[in-house]
């Protein structure tokens, strides 16, 4: 799952990185820094895995006041 600062929320880390990239000569227009959490979940199917991870996001992995999250399911290991 991917957590990132919500739109409109100040992201000083992103701003610092953007400024550094500009100094390096890159034409960057905005940088936001989030975090990736890779999870291995025991679940019967994709829908229940998604539901579990969503609950994890709500309870712990993201703070809904300032962060949004996206869940992406990978193929289960064979």
């Amino acid at each position: 799952m991917l957590v990132r600062p919500k739109q409109g929320i100040l992201d000083p880390q992103g701003q610092a990185v953007e400024a550094s990239l500009r100094r390096l000569g890159f034409a960057v227009d905005g940088a936001r820094i989030g975090r990736v959490v890779d999870l291995e979940v025991d679940a019967a199917d994709a829908a229940s895995a998604h539901a579990q991870v969503e609950r994890m996001c709500e309870q712990l992995l993201a703070n809904p006041l300032i962060e949004s999250y996206e869940i992406e399911l990978a193929e289960p290991p064979t």
Binding site: I9, L10, P12, Q13, A16, L60, L61, N63, L65, I66
Partner: protein
Amino acid sequence: MTSPQPRVGVLRFPGACDDRDALWALAALDAEAVFVWHTETELPDLDAVVLPGGFSYGDYLRCGAIARFASAMESVVEFARAGGLVLGICNGFQILCEAGLLPGVLRRNESLTFVCRDVPLVVERTDTPFTARCDQGQTLTIPVKHGEGNWYVDDHGYAELEARRQVVLRYAEPVNGSLNDVAGVVNERGNVMGLMPHPEHAVDPLLGSADGALILSSLVESARERYLITV
């Protein structure tokens, strides 16, 4: 006869570092201060709880996010919901926000740097159990030391907060990018407070300031009143 000492519990999480200072300061201000280990499932008989500063669980994920689920915290939430006095200092403030006992969230400082210095604070309210010994509009000098003290709540939330007068302390100068220079807030009921500055580091003139004692002795006195009512 000496007045009875209220009993104040200081929670200890792995990674806390200001727990001893908090215990010492509370004892110096005439409380019976006791440590409460984070794995406790029940609080001892307490008249107030202090969540001290530090870096509980290494500040992993978000500051206070893991400590919030410590078993002792469940009891603290119950204690607070029952009207018990709870003060969160620095990391303790972050934990109370994550636990939903206080509004807002503490983000990385705007400067991205750790701030460690004495800061001037303006007392916005004296009708709380935590500031009763202060004067309205008084400027206190208390140190901060944090990397994530940049308090934030959305516009709607802030308007509600102002309407209920929940901002108790404000920085008198920019410190960390905190919205409207908020340094400390109470919950709606007024029995839970969090602040980023460290009153426990400012209880003796030898430490540079004794203004922190005004906050902690307000808490001790309020706890004593509650103790006397229940006796």
